[in-house]
Symmetry: C2
Subunit: 249 residues, 2 copies
């Protein structure tokens, strides 16, 4: 399968959850225990399945427990923009606590398992716990920061810079979750996904990846990716593209 797996049963509950660090309750074990009791279950989806759809009413909220997923929006004419790659521990839409309807769709990139919460119950709980409320504010503030950074490089960077940044960004996030050890890591994104994330066509992504490979920076096989020259890739991500023979802007 190529995907790193955690036990689906969650033996010790949220308090013992292996991906706890990245989640709502973070470093607070007593909160974890209480959230544990709120969870209505764990749900699994096959790869490529749609987890929720733009426009639907929000009745449940999810945390991604295992696997990769993609948050995205569709334009009326069928164009698609991916908004975020979701990794284990990520909440799928904190905004759902406030908004009545989904503002985006979510699709599984690999087989996934989600922790499920009832929206009304979680709302009530959050409102009764000012500390948690504050913590959620912090998470949303961070999300705003990340979105603004993505906006920045979507607006101002070349295809090479964007692809390099995406790869490094995912590598960093995986590393922060201890899901990567060494240069090789899982990377289930198809080139179409990369394109829809970065405002490029899949064809062009293919060419860019080829050049990065030819430059000895990365290697892709199976559904894994290896960063062979981290420094070089980072240099491109920062806009010092000379290394790979490109210049612009």
């Amino acid at each position: 399968m190529g995907i790193q797996r955690h036990p689906v049963s969650v033996p010790g509950g949220c308090s013992a959850c292996p991906i706890r660090a990245a989640t709502l309750y973070g470093g607070a074990p007593e909160l974890a225990a209480r959230i544990d009791r709120l969870r209505t279950g764990i749900r699994t989806f096959d790869a490529r399945r749609t987890i929720c759809r733009e426009g639907e009413p929000v009745q449940e909220l999810f945390t991604l427990f295992d696997g990769w997923a993609m948050r995205f929006k569709m334009l009326p004419d069928g164009r698609r923009q991916n908004l975020a790659v979701l990794l284990p521990g990520d909440a799928i839409s904190l905004s759902g606590l406030w908004s009545e309807r989904q503002e985006f769709s979510v699709q599984a990139l690999t087989p996934v398992s989600l922790c499920v919460f009832d929206r009304a119950t979680l709302r009530e709980f959050v409102r009764s716990q000012p500390d948690l409320e504050w913590r959620i504010g912090g998470l949303m503030a961070r999300e705003i920061g990340q979105l603004e950074e993505r906006l920045t490089y979507l607006g101002k960077c070349t295809a090479h810079e964007r692809v390099a940044r995406l790869i490094i960004n995912i590598h960093k996030r995986l590393a922060a979750r201890k899901l990567v050890d060494g240069p090789v890591f899982d990377f289930p994104l198809r080139q179409q996904h990369i394109g829809d994330s970065l405002g490029l066509t899949a064809v062009h992504v293919s060419r860019v990846l080829r050049e990065l490979r030819d430059a000895g920076l990365i290697e892709r096989r199976d559904r894994k990716l290896a960063i062979l020259n981290y420094e070089g890739l980072e240099a491109i991500a920062r806009g010092g593209g000379e290394t790979a023979g490109r210049r612009s802007l």
Copy 2:
């Protein structure tokens, strides 16, 4: 000056603030009165002045009381991406409640006046008022939604669609604040600002605006803009660009 002015003295305090509807305390007059007492003052800046700079520690938080401002980020090599046009009533960075350092810079587009709050005081106050905490969460959720929409059209839309959307978006936001009456409204953005907001060069923005003008959709003079054919402009914004002689994607 071309800018709609409110009295700078704020005669009745926040409770009577003419732009109250769009702000933190929204429909809650008793909150307004208490926030009124927290405000440490009103500060003004000339057009083009920098209000705060990326990387600086956050000691004060601001609400834009009058005038236009721009939130933006710089890349190390000098490229600039504008993140948001700020209009009267907008909070400048709610995220600043959580983050220690500014993650962006803010610049005045017109002469502006800001309501100033001490960060530590406001933090404390917010944490003591769970309702306000919740309300701020809602504002941030909305901001996330807006950022995701901008991400979507930055990634997937043509220059014509982007420019049309920007104009319509600003018109709608001004209308919601009752700062526009009829087709003509203040529009102090330079073409460079538009370009840096949409990931385009100022030169290209000039060409696109010219085509929109030639198509009889808009007119610019002074620092004002007129939408002559709202339907047509909206059609372009939605991606039905045939009206202006463009197709793509």
